[in-house]
Symmetry: C2
Subunit: 562 residues, 2 copies
């Protein structure tokens, strides 16, 4: 039994739960695109390839896997920054590149979308730095296993892979027999260390006096969120997340505290952390930006770490022992009567100050005010910059996912990521009322603004909250507070929806702005915000140098240095 290559590939993607593919047409991928919709996948064309990669990244974080189609050279290189971000923060994107026909490549013809030097392997070399597997589907005998291998790499590492499809291979027949069995991820082999590991963990858990659970962002790609939820509930232990781990546990639970920020956190929290005798550390991701400049990384001497490739107890690393072999057994084996009941520190009681209706909106209180608009099942996306800093302190309803920046921090990412994430959410929940709320600064918005038109075309329910502070305020806090290079050209955001294709009536009714707390209150109560559909925009004006949290200290240093 045989099947055309493109059908093989897209069937596999469907089997793995992908329903929409992102990308941009180009002459080396057009034949391939003919096969997308017949295979039951939706084609979501974006305005450019970087935005497509960002959208695919957002989709992967919600759906678990995504796909992107670009064209050789121009398309794939436009997307490569998005692929690198997906690598850094573990979003598995199947990046499919339509390449010139084999004859063209073999003859080293000087075709367009090359450097006109007969060299066709450059872009694959570049991709190898930011993907975990690369396959060039140029021999029909190898194709099925190549595709399956690459997909498995993407799933296991939760990182992007790179597939080249020469234009003349699209409808070449390949063996279809693999398709009768789903791609399954082999269970991690049992190393024999498991009983030891399990005993050591249990012993530590039973004897702890000041235990805590820390949920970091790689818990998502490890696919252990269900087990973590049970652990948090079973133990009742004080639980924090990192920045990257935000929203991966139910923040409504009494023992869940929010994002731990070291010396920037509540003093009691820090005290509890510093004196903990057991930290259960799930899915660690140790970048400077995810660890308050490395200050919140748990002390190994008191820590049990569950990572995708090892378990660490104190200083002993069990490299072959996979959390998926331990966590279910652990949950089974925990003797709740022996688990210490501990009372953590007081929960944070950051309340908005007394806000005067006529006062300007400030970063310090903004996020606790808008927190009220977030409801169960929402997606919340906070772009790099003041928005991401602010979003960390919001307390989310259960089943609310927040996507924020962790390490790659490529500004412009979050708007197209909203397209992908919200589409995945709508598909996954089968709920047409599914909704996303995007917080984004005016500088970031300019990077990728055109994907508002994709939101509109796909009828996504998105509230875009644009923080207008006249430029790159986060950069002002870091350096160049008064420098003009941190300014941007001013835009008239009120026109955005109508420019990007919303019908006049919707566009007119869907732009809101607020400069004061009173104005913001009116907007948040508006029924088009509360219960409306489609894309809405709220422009919130804040000061050029207004920051809070960690950024406050940076800005103060700037001022002190001047």
């Amino acid at each position: 039994m045989s099947i055309k290559l493109a059908d093989y590939l897209f069937t596999r993607l469907r089997q793995l739960g992908i329903r929409s593919i992102f990308g941009v047409p180009g002459d080396y991928n057009l034949h391939l695109l003919d096969f997308v919709e017949p295979s039951g996948l939706a084609w979501v064309g974006t305005c450019n390839e970087l935005n497509a990669a960002y959208a695919a990244d957002g989709y992967a974080r919600i759906n678990g896997l995504s796909a992107l189609v670009t064209t050789f050279g121009v398309g794939e290189l436009s997307a490569i920054n998005g692929i690198a971000g997906a690598y850094a923060e573990k979003a598995p994107i199947i990046h499919i590149v339509g390449t010139p026909a084999r004859t063209t490549q073999d003859s080293r013809a000087l075709v367009h979308h090359t450097l006109a030097d007969g060299e066709f392997r450059r872009f694959a070399h570049m991709a190898s730095h930011v993907t975990v597997a690369q396959v060039d589907l140029k021999d029909p005998r190898l194709v099925p296993d190549q595709v399956d291998w690459a997909l498995r790499e993407a799933i296991i590492h939760s990182r992007p892979v790179y597939l080249e499809v020469p234009d003349d291979m699209v409808d070449v027949h390949v063996n279809a027999s693999n398709l009768t069995s789903m791609i399954c991820i082999p269970p991690a082999p049992v190393t024999g260390d498991e009983p030891v590991v399990l005993d050591r963990i249990l012993e530590r858990m039973h004897t702890a006096k000041r235990p805590l659970i820390l949920v970091d962002g790689e818990s998502r790609p490890m696919k252990v969120l269900g087990d973590i939820d049970k652990l948090v509930k079973t133990t009742g232990w004080p639980t924090w997340t990192t920045i990257f781990g935000k929203s991966l546990v139910n923040e409504q639970l009494l023992n869940v505290y929010g994002v731990y920020a070291g010396s920037l956190s509540d003093a009691q929290w820090k005290n509890y952390f510093d004196s903990a005798d057991l930290i259960i550390n799930m899915g660690p991701h140790y970048s400077d930006t995810n660890s308050q400049n490395f200050t919140t990384i748990p002390d190994p001497a008191v820590t049990i770490t569950f990572s995708n490739t090892y378990i660490q107890i104190d200083n002993d690393i069990y490299r072959g022992t996979h959390p998926s072999n331990i966590l279910p057994q652990l949950l089974e084996a925990i003797d709740t009567s022996r688990i210490p009941r501990v009372t953590g520190p007081a929960k944070s009681t950051k309340e908005a100050g007394q806000l005067n209706s006529f006062d300007s909106i400030t970063q310090k209180d903004f996020y606790s005010i808008v927190n009220s608009m977030i409801r169960e099942d929402d997606l919340v996306l906070t772009e790099t910059g003041t928005a991401a800093h602010g979003g960390r302190d919001m307390i989310l309803p259960q089943n609310t996912r927040l996507l924020g920046p962790a390490t790659w921090l490529s500004i412009g990412y979050m708007l197209p990521a909203t397209v992908g994430a919200e589409l995945a959410q709508r598909e996954r929940t089968n709920n047409p009322d599914s909704r996303a709320i995007l917080f984004i600064g005016d500088g970031s918005l300019q990077m990728t603004v055109q994907e508002i038109s994709t939101m509109i075309r796909e009828n996504l329910n998105v509230i875009i909250i644009v923080i207008n502070n006249e430029g790159y305020t986060i950069e002002r806090a870091i350096h160049g507070r008064k420098q003009s290079y941190n300014d941007i050209a001013p835009w008239s955001h009120a026109q955005a929806l109508s420019f990007f294709g919303a019908d006049d009536r919707h566009a007119m009714q869907s732009y809101f702005s607020a400069r004061t707390w009173g104005e913001l209150d009116v907007v948040l109560r508006d029924k088009r915000i509360q219960a409306g559909t489609g894309v809405r925009m709220v422009e919130v004006f804040m000061g050029r140098e207004d920051v809070q949290g960690a950024l406050l200290r940076l800005m103060a240093n700037q001022i002190a240095d001047e």
Copy 2:
């Protein structure tokens, strides 16, 4: 005598005639950006890094050299597709990347804008595929020579180079003594072959019966346009350009015919070409898209080729012999009395058909109509797609430069390139009335539309002619004529100027649209188009499948195949 690294670098750029630098701030380049304006350079922040690279490419093609500043990882990778295009089509961009401090890199710290794996060299490896030189400015003793070497590489190859500036190196002192002499490009060594080469060329020129001159696009980076102009005038020989060579000779001369397109050209032209006994081939660039799928490449048996790295006479290649050592001597040595006077074929007399005011605008006649609006010293930019195909047939006034796609063909390029090219033109001519006319399809526009705001902020005089044919018409001609993947989301272009920050009055008066020849005529006569300033937009509606020239055949094949 010593000088801070940043001052050294920016002084060199100033010395080489760069006046504006493009880029986007990011935390690893902020210290570096502090030095831009004090050095006398203008900072032109764009909305994102790909657009900055495109702008720098446009600037380099007019100014001869340009500079781009991005930040490590996220910024440089966003720009890399633009750098690759500059490599393919020979635009020398000095790409300066602000990188993490040396201590950070040496300690392999897991900082943001990395893949959080301690590896800091990946992006430089990637850049090495699309730049001719790479330097990491991390040792003060080496910096001056590294900078000078990289700049020379950029200038000689007319291609991008890659400079890393660690954040802590910005104000480190380096030896300033190099600065007392300008960077000069060493003359090509004399090989001894020159007299032979010169004699052979002269002999061929004196004995030719049906000679012609073909000017290709690499004549620009070879910096021999002045000599070519003399050769074309001295000989009076029939002269054509390639697609890439368009506008590099004065199209108003009687012996200059336009773009040679092989079998798609006038039959008499093709006949002359095919029977030529001498083709002087300047600055060849042999890509499929620049040679009508390799059909217009001159027969070596009758050709003398001047390339940047060799001269070829028939099948003999003089590799070390540089055109700059031959062309001036040749022009001196030509005995005009012995140069054959030839009469070339008739000039093309493509005239617009009888156009009815109420008829829809069509590709076939559009370009000859808008040809009338182009005036001396204009820049004309034609984006990949139907615009580029149409632009080839326009006859330009003298001193009018046209930038069109040759090989890289990355759609979205031309709008930001207009920002850079027009800025360079304004600086170069010192003429505030300097003007650019951009022809761009609605699909390409969506890729990089936000740079309209940079045009507005920089007060550039640009007329943007948007060809609205509801999607990627060039792709429809290639494949998928009726496929929805070639559609785009519809935008309301009338709002563009006001959305991107033009003041209300200007915005209202500066949008025009035309669906018929009559409407187009009114627009072209409007004094705001004829003599206005600032950014203006003309939206021209054409059929979804309306194409002309080479694309016509492709579209016909599509229809035949269905």
